[in-house]
């Protein structure tokens, strides 16, 4: 079944660091903007919730029509956000955890950034 999934890594200053459409459905022209709007707006909800819990994985914190937002907050307050229409809590949680690991590795290796970003990108798409 074709799923929609939009993934974004947001810095603690609310700046997007990395974006990728990771769903299996074909990419639509106007989907990208809607996805950004929804994810961006969800930051307010994450902000609200972040104070109330020490959990990193926050599932289904916001929704817009059929799309649901799940978030993974790192210790450095970087947010891994996923906009999805399927319900696969365990799958999503492990996806976040794996990306988080990769992200730490990439950050650690400061040199040759662009190569690592490419590798990172390929890994993300594969992980889905």
């Amino acid at each position: 079944m074709a799923t929609t999934a939009s993934f974004i890594i947001v810095s603690r200053n609310d700046i997007p660091i990395y974006e990728a459409e990771v769903g299996s459905a074909t990419k639509r022209e106007d989907a990208a903007q809607l996805h950004q709007f929804v994810l961006h707006a969800a930051l307010d909800i994450v902000q609200d919730l972040a104070w109330t819990t020490s959990a990193m994985f926050l599932k289904n914190i916001d929704r817009f029509n059929d799309l649901v937002v799940s978030v993974y907050v790192t210790a450095g307050h970087t947010r891994l956000m996923l906009l999805h229409d399927s319900r696969n809590d365990d799958g999503i949680k492990s996806f976040f955890q794996e990306v988080h690991e990769l992200y730490i590795k990439v950050n650690f290796l400061q040199l040759g950034c662009s190569v690592h970003v490419l590798v990172f990108h390929l890994s993300i798409v594969e992980k889905n």
Binding site: I15, P16, E29, A32, Q33, H35, Q36, F37, V38, H40, A41, A42, L43, D44, I45, Q47, D48
Partner: protein
Amino acid sequence: MDPAGTPLGKMLLEEITPVVMVLRTPSVEEACVKNGLSFVEMLSPFCNFSNIDVPLRTSSDQPYRLHKFKLRLFYESDVRQPNIEVAKERLKQVITKAGEKENLELISDPPQVSNLLDSSKSELLPSWFEYLNKELIRTASFSEHETFDHPVGCLLVVSSKDEQPINRFIDLFNTNKLPSLLNDGAMDPKILKHYLLVHDNHDGSSEKASKILSEMKSTFGTNECHLLCINSSQDAKMEHQDDPWASYLKDLMHEFSSKHVIPYMEQKVRILNQQVSATRRGFRNQIKNLWWRKGKDDPNEMPSGSMYTFSSIESQIRVLGDHAFMLHDYELALANYRLISTDYKLDKAWKRYAGVQKLGSSGQQNATRCGLWWIEMLKTRDQYKEAASVYFRICSEELLHSAVMLEQASYCYLFSKPPMLYKYGFHLVLSGDRYRKTDQIKHAIRTYRSALSVYRETTWSYIRDHVHFHIGQWYALLGFHDVAVRHMLQVLACSHQSKATQELFLRDFLQIFQVSGFSFHGLVSLGQMLSYIKQFDLSLCI
């Protein structure tokens, strides 16, 4: 707790008050018109009591006293839902007119976020929201669904000048002319009836009138009949304060309310309460079946499409709740409203209560009305985030309606503690998009401009492009080409967009720039412009 002090409380006390239907002969109306007023206009000022001081005993054995009380008088021709199309058209005009803002403000820079957060609510909220919401609530009146609009009683009014007055009284309550509410089973047609004979002293002595009154009393009952003498002035207007016979009116309505309407309602509450309590034990299962049945095809449903008859348990509980509310027994009212929504998540109960699925467009109006009240309740308790989600929920396929609801939602997000600025921006964009779809370009610009306070310098590329591109297009539509170009420039560095989109951006930019031509006052240096274009895919250059 007396809710009368809160803004919501005041509003509900004004609106959820018992309705009395007025049936009168043309002669009655003529007598009043001589004074420049309709019959209802003449009596209405005397129907508002700040301290009617009537003892009541509703559910418990504890008596209490009713102080504030109000009757709403309507002619039978008005006890019907306002024509939906006419109402919609009027609302559209209100919105269009509100859009005719000062152009200067429309093209000026949007405020900084810090200024936004420092401003008061009244400074930020468009002033026409309140009027629009009131109108939306009004258009949902007198549906079959909402029982507090159903008349609790009826005033039959005949003039002493009428021929065969007793027959006229009987004719007035002719079922053919009565509102459909009374005929189609939505409400109990057996309502309190009161007979009023109007005599204008200007027309001569009241001897004849007194005779008619005796006849009325022997036909309809001693306590149900009254004589009202008025004095038409030689000239037109009548002054309530100075007029000596105003006190007769006051006494009449006071007696009607305190000795007839209120006791009648009190009695109804006691009877219904007994009936409902008796069935309450098995009630939960019963109502569950009722609800689930309504979701599928219900063979017992009335063919007219009415959701229920007045004798059903559901209806009885509503009437009980509404009557209790109008008699200020809020505990009893709440207990009954809860009965309907017990066991269900707010979502489902909400949909059912508003009857959206069943009643089509009138269901949407009811949902809007319920929603707007619920929102007022939430706002009073500073629950702005929840209020925003209700605004979102009462959006429909009706685009202009949704535009206004979404905009109101955005402000709720702004006013929540802590403020949710990104939600504010997003809902403004959703709203503006719908304004544009209904050709309200000025409103579209207005909302997108407000959104720019949040999105002006955003690093989220698609968001930035979307807002700047569209507002640029719309400014150009209205002829503000300088401002349009300024916004279009923001989208030119868009290598993240698809080729088709980049072409579109460039083409529109060039078109607008061409039109602005010599009026473009070098706000941006040519060098800056070139540096933007440099970031393009070279194959796009002409």
